[in-house]
C-alpha cells in the first residue's frame, strides 16, 4: 500500500539537511572558554568545519565577558530571526551565564563541547577536535524545535472541592478567604466526614471539628459547628451532591453536579417536631427518616431519601413549612479553574477482619469503640467498670498480602489513645495491646507510647491469627507471645480490632471522572511522592487529606493548606508551561490509537478526522486521527517513540534525532552512543563534566527531554551506524519526571536487544538510573562500559564469518 508521505530515508545521503549548506541562516557562536579547551580542541578546525556547512561563525576567546554579552544582546534584539547556535559550555552553564538575556529574546541552542567533550577527555587533540566538530555539526545541521513562548493563561477564578470532610472544608475555607470562589461538594447531607464523627482525635485528644482561624475571631481555632465557620460569601456548599462529569480543559473545567434534594429548606427553626412526628426508622436503625446529625451552620435537618415513605407527617408537624417534598434532584454545570479531590478514606470493611471474629457483640473496631467510649464516659456515675478485660489487636487485616497489604499509619496511635482513655476512666480494667510493631513515630508518638505504659496498658508482642467465640459468645484470643516465646490464650470481655483504612467508596469513580490516576492501593496517586504531594496526574486537579492515603488530622490540615496554596498559585499564575509540544503529522497518522495508550498524561486522543485534514493515501474514509492537547502534553516524547508510522514529530523528530546520532557516530572508532535525559541524568552528566572526570572520547552523548523518546528503531539504527554499545541514562528508578519514560525505554531496549540478537549482531545496551547525587559515578561507569563494549566488539569481529556478512541485505 502506498502511504501518502515522504519516505524517511535512513542511512543514505537522503536525510534532509545533512550536508553542506544545511546551516544557512544559522549563526554559530563559538566560545574558546578563555583557552581552557586549548589543550585538546583546535577551534580553527571546528570553525572551518562549520563554515563548510554554510554556517556564519563568530568565534571569541570568551563570550561571557562584557564584550561578548554586549554582542549577544545586540544579536538578540536585531530581529533578524537568525538561528543562534552556541558552541561552548553545557546548556546548564549557558543558562546560568546568559539566562538574564532571555528577557531580550535571546534564544540559544547549545552544542556542549566543554563539559561534554574537551574537559572530560585526554590529550588526543585530533580525536577530541573531531568529536567537538561533530557535536557542533549535529546541533547546526539538525535543529530541534524551540520551546514555544509562554502563553497567557486564562484560568477561571473558581475551584470545586470534592469532599466535605475536614481536609475539604479546610481547603475550601482557605481558598475562599484568599478570594477565590469555591464550590464545596459533599456527598452526604452533612459536612464533617469521619473525623468529626469519631469522638476525640489524635493528637490533641479533642474533637476533629476544629478549623484554623486567622483573623475572624480571637483564639487560635474555631469550631466547624459554630461561629459560622463555613459561612463565607465566596463559598458555596453543595450537600448530597456528586460530581457527575467533567469536561473542558485544565484551567477551564465544566463540572456537572448532580444534587439530591434535602427536602428541608433554610426556613427550618431547628425545633425537631418533624423527627417526633416521623414514624419511619432510617437505614442503620439509629435515627428516623428525618434526622439531624451534625450542624454546620446552615441546615440542621435532612430527610433520608432511602428510607422515607413520603407520608408527609413531618411536613404537617412543621410549624414553619420548612419541609418541601416538591424538591427534586437537579443537575448544575459550573465552571472551575481547578478541582481538589478531598474524598477521604473509610475504615476497612468488615470482610477484611472476618477471621478475627468480626462482627460480633464483643468484637468491635476502633472506630466503633470510640463511640462506645463516649457512651461509657457518660455513664461514669455507675462507678462500675463495664468490662474487666479488653484486648486490642493491631494490624487487624493490615500488612497482610491477602487483605490490606499496607500500613495505615494511624491505627497504632488510635489504639494508644483509646487504651489510655479506657485506663483513665476505669483503672481496674485490664487493657492488653497485641502488636507486631508499634508505629507511633516522632516525638509526639513516643510520648503517647510512654503515656500508655504509665497508664498501665499491657503490651504483648504477637499477632493473633484468628479470634474465636466460645459457647457464651465470649471471644478467645490465641496468640504467640513473641517476647516470652510462649503461646497464650486470652479470654477478654471485649476485643477491639485496630483496622486499617481504605479509599472512600467513591474514590475510584471520582478519580475516573476527574482523570486522576489511582495508586496500587486505590488511593488517588500524587504527582510526586516527595515534593508534589497535593497534585495529581491530571493537570488542574489537586488532592489533599486522606484521599491520597490515610492521614492524621494534623497531616490532613497541613495538606489542606498546601493544596490551597498550590491551587492559588495555579489559578493566579500568568503563563502556561513552556516547552516543545509534539505535533502530529496528519499525512502520516493512520489513527491506530497506539499513542493514546502510551501517553502517561492522557494528552493524546483519537478524534474523527476532519474532511480537510491531510491524510495518508489509501486511508479509509472514516479513519480517525490523533490530536494532542497542548495543555496536558508535557513533551516527553513517549508517544513519538511508540508511533508505528513515525507520524509524531517531537521537538526532536526522528529525522533530527537519527541525523544527530549519525553525525556524531558515523565513521568513528568504536563509538558508544549515550542517550541522556535532560532531567536527573542530564544533571549528573553536566556536573560530572564540571568535575572533569575523564572518559574515552568515543562516548557520544545525545540529550533527550526524557528516555521515553527512545524507540527500538533508534537503538537498532545506532547499532547499524557502528555503535559498539549504547547506554540510556535517565532518572532514578521509577522516578521518571514524566512517569512512564523509564519503563517505556526499558521495553524498547528489550525489543531492540532481541532484534539485534535475532540478526546475530548484538551490542551491549544498558539502562542507567542516575540522579545528580551520583555525578561522581558517571566517569567510572563510562570507562567501564566503554571497555566492556570494545571487548565485545573485538570478540564479535574475531568470531565473524565473512561469508555470512550482509545476508538479508540483498533486497534493500
Amino acid at each position: 500500500m502506498a502511504r501518502g508521505h515522504g519516505e524517511l530515508r535512513l542511512g543514505g545521503a537522503g536525510v534532509t539537511g545533512s550536508g553542506a549548506g544545511a546551516a544557512r541562516g544559522t549563526r554559530v557562536l563559538v566560545c574558546e572558554c578563555a583557552g581552557t579547551m586549548a589543550a585538546n580542541v583546535d577551534f580553527g578546525v571546528v570553525e572551518r568545519g562549520i563554515a563548510e556547512d554554510g554556517g556564519l561563525v563568530e568565534r571569541r576567546r570568551v563570550w561571557c565577558g562584557r564584550e561578548g554579552r554586549a554582542r549577544l544582546a545586540e544579536l538578540a534584539e536585531d530581529g533578524s530571526g537568525e538561528r543562534l547556535v552556541f558552541v561552548g559550555c553545557s546548556a546548564d552553564s549557558v543558562a546560568q551565564r546568559f539566562g538574564n538575556l532571555a528577557a531580550l529574546g535571546l534564544d540559544l541552542e547549545v552544542a556542549d563541547v566543554r563539559e561534554g567533550c574537551s574537559w572530560v577527555h585526554g590529550e588526543d587533540r585530533t580525536a577530541v577536535t573531531d568529536k567537538a566538530l561533530r557535536i557542533a555539526r549535529a546541533a547546526v545541521r539538525f535543529p530541534a524545535a524551540r520551546p514555544r513562548p509562554a502563553a497567557p493563561a486564562a484560568r477561571a477564578d473558581s475551584v470545586v472541592v470534592v469532599g466535605g470532610g475536614v481536609a475539604g472544608i479546610a481547603t475550601a475555607t482557605e481558598l475562599a478567604r484568599m478570594g477565590h470562589h469555591v464550590d464545596l461538594v459533599e456527598r452526604e447531607a452533612f459536612l464533617g466526614g469521619y473525623a468529626t464523627r469519631i469522638g476525640t482525635a489524635y493528637p490533641t485528644n479533642d474533637c476533629g471539628a476544629c478549623l484554623p482561624t486567622i483573623e475572624e475571631q480571637s483564639g487560635v481555632r474555631r469550631c466547624l459547628f459554630r461561629n459560622a465557620a463555613v459561612d463565607h460569601p465566596n463559598l458555596a456548599i453543595w450537600r448530597r451532591t456528586e460530581v457527575q462529569s467533567v469536561s473542558g480543559e485544565p484551567g477551564g473545567f465544566e463540572v456537572t453536579l448532580r444534587q439530591l434534594p434535602n427536602m428541608v429548606t433554610q426556613d427550618c427553626v431547628d425545633c425537631g417536631l418533624c423527627e417526633k412526628a416521623c414514624a419511619v426508622t432510617g437505614p442503620d436503625g439509629e435515627h428516623k427518616a428525618i434526622y439531624s446529625e451534625l450542624f454546620d451552620g446552615r441546615v440542621r435537618w435532612a430527610v433520608d431519601l432511602g428510607s422515607c415513605t413520603f407520608c408527609g407527617a413531618c411536613a404537617e408537624a412543621c410549624p414553619v413549612e420548612a419541609i418541601d417534598f416538591t424538591q427534586s434532584p437537579r443537575l448544575a454545570t459550573i465552571r472551575a479553574g481547578a478541582i481538589v479531590a478531598a474524598t477521604g478514606c473509610d475504615p476497612a470493611p468488615a470482610e477484611l477482619v472476618a477471621h478475627l471474629g468480626y462482627p460480633a457483640e464483643r468484637v468491635l473496631t476502633q472506630t466503633e469503640f470510640a463511640l462506645v467510649l463516649d457512651e461509657w464516659e457518660e455513664r461514669l456515675w455507675l462507678d462500675r467498670p463495664p468490662v474487666g478485660e479488653v484486648v486490642m489487636v493491631q494490624c487487624a487485616g493490615s500488612r497482610d498480602l491477602r487483605r490490606l497489604p499496607y500500613c495505615s499509619r494511624l491505627c497504632c496511635t488510635i489504639a494508644l489513645k483509646h487504651a489510655i482513655r479506657l485506663r483513665r476512666l476505669f483503672p481496674t480494667t485490664r487493657v492488653t495491646i497485641c502488636y507486631l510493631e508499634l508505629r507511633t513515630l516522632g516525638t509526639e508518638g513516643e510520648s503517647w507510647y510512654t503515656a500508655a505504659r504509665a497508664a498501665g496498658v499491657e503490651f504483648l508482642r504477637g499477632s493473633p491469627p484468628r479470634v474465636e467465640l466460645d459457647a457464651d459468645n465470649r471471644p478467645v484470643v490465641e496468640v504467640e507471645d513473641v517476647g516470652a516465646g510462649v503461646k497464650r490464650v486470652l479470654r477478654p470481655d471485649l476485643v477491639v480490632l485496630s483496622t486499617g483504612f481504605v479509599p472512600s467508596a467513591d474514590t475510584e469513580r471520582v478519580a475516573g471522572v476527574l482523570g486522576a490516576r489511582l495508586d496500587a492501593a486505590g488511593f488517588v496517586d500524587v504527582l510526586d511522592a516527595k515534593n508534589r504531594v497535593t497534585e495529581t496526574s491530571a493537570e488542574g486537579v489537586f488532592v489533599c487529606g486522606s484521599a491520597s492515603g490515610p492521614k492524621s488530622l494534623a497531616e490532613s490540615s497541613t495538606q489542606a493548606s498546601a493544596a490551597a496554596g498550590q491551587v492559588h498559585r495555579y489559578l493566579t499564575s500568568t503563563s502556561r508551561r513552556l516547552g516543545v509540544v509534539p505535533t502530529i503529522d496528519g499525512s502520516r497518522c493512520v489513527g491506530c490509537d497506539v499513542c493514546t495508550g502510551a501517553c502517561p498524561f492522557g494528552a493524546v486522543s483519537l478524534v474523527a478526522r476532519p474532511g480537510d485534514a491531510p491524510r495518508p493515501a489509501g486511508l479509509r474514509d472514516d479513519a480517525m486521527i490523533a490530536v494532542l492537547d497542548a495543555d496536558r502534553c508535557r513533551a516527553c516524547g513517549i508517544c513519538a517513540a511508540h508511533c508505528p508510522e513515525l507520524a509524531i514529530a517531537h521537538g526532536l523528530d526522528d529525522e533530527t534525532l537519527l541525523g544527530r546520532v549519525r553525525t556524531l557516530v558515523e565513521g568513528a572508532d568504536h563509538p558508544v552512543v549515550g542517550f541522556v535525559c535532560a532531567e536527573c541524568a542530564g544533571a549528573a552528566f553536566s556536573l560530572a563534566g564540571v568535575r572533569r572526570d575523564r572518559y574515552p572520547e568515543n562516548v557520544r552523548l545525545v540529550e533527550l527531554p526524557c528516555l521515553g523518546r527512545v524507540s527500538a528503531l533508534h537503538l537498532v539504527e545506532a547499532a547499524r551506524l557502528g555503535a559498539a554499545g549504547v547506554f540510556l541514562a535517565g532518572c532514578a528508578e521509577d522516578r521518571c519526571q514524566y512517569r512512564g519514560g523509564d519503563r517505556s525505554a526499558a521495553e524498547q531496549i528489550a525489543v531492540a536487544v532481541e532484534l539485534l540478537t535475532e540478526a546475530s549482531n548484538p551490542i551491549p545496551i544498558e539502562q542507567w538510573h542516575l540522579c545528580a547525587a551520583e555525578r561522581h559515578t558517571v566517569g567510572r561507569r563510562l570507562r567501564t562500559f566503554c571497555a566492556h563494549a570494545e571487548k565485545l566488539a573485538g570478540e564479535r569481529a574475531a568470531g565473524a564469518d565473512p561469508a555470512l556478512a550482509g545476508i538479508g541485505g540483498g533486497s534493500s
Binding site: 500500500m1 502520516r588 508510522e645 532484534l755 540478526a759 549482531n761
Partner: protein, 150 residues
C-alpha cells in the same frame, strides 16, 4: 452502518450481492497482509468471536516487507544492513509493548463479519468473497458456537 470506500471496493466483486451495508459482507473470507500490519491491536479489540489475539511473541521476519516510512520499515532497513543472517525465531515481547507483536488469527473461529477490516487503520486486513475453499458463513458459525461454553 454505512460502507467505507474500502468496504465498497471489497464487496463490489461479490457475485450476486449488491452491497449496501457493511453487514452484507458477512461470510467473507478474511485475508491478512502481515507486511502492512503495525501491531496496533485494533482488530483484536473489535473481533466479536475472539478469532484474533495478540501473541506474546514477535517474529522479526514480519518487519522485512513493511513499507518504508514506517517504524517497522525503518527498522527492517537498518536490520538488513547489519544482519549476519535472516532472523530465525520469534522472541517474547514485554507486556506493555503493543506494536511489536504477532497478531494471531484463528481462521476456525472467524465469522467473516469484517469488523477487523473496518477497524484496521492500514488496510492490512481485507475481506474477499467466499470461494468455496474458505470456512464459509455456516461452517464458521458452527465452529464459533461449539467454541462457546454451553
Amino acid at each position: 452502518m454505512p460502507l467505507t470506500a474500502r468496504g465498497r471496493e471489497m464487496l463490489g466483486s461479490l457475485p450476486g450481492v449488491a452491497p449496501k451495508t457493511a453487514t452484507d459482507g458477512i461470510g467473507c473470507e478474511i485475508v491478512r497482509h502481515e507486511e502492512l500490519c503495525i501491531g496496533c491491536g485494533r482488530c483484536v479489540k473489535v473481533c466479536p468471536s475472539a478469532a484474533i489475539a495478540e501473541s506474546a511473541l514477535f517474529d522479526p521476519l514480519q518487519l522485512y516487507d513493511a513499507p518504508a516510512g514506517t517504524t517497522r520499515g525503518a527498522l527492517a532497513s537498518a536490520l538488513r544492513r547489519i544482519a549476519r543472517h535472516e532472523p530465525d525465531g520469534s522472541f517474547e515481547v514485554p507486556d506493555r509493548v503493543r506494536t511489536f507483536r504477532t497478531i494471531e488469527f484463528d481462521r476456525d473461529r472467524c465469522l467473516g463479519c469484517g469488523a477487523c477490516t473496518r477497524a484496521c487503520p492500514t488496510g492490512a486486513v481485507t475481506a474477499r468473497p467466499v470461494d468455496g475453499t474458505g470456512p464459509g458463513w455456516l461452517a464458521a458459525t458452527e465452529s464459533f458456537a461449539s467454541a462457546v461454553p454451553a
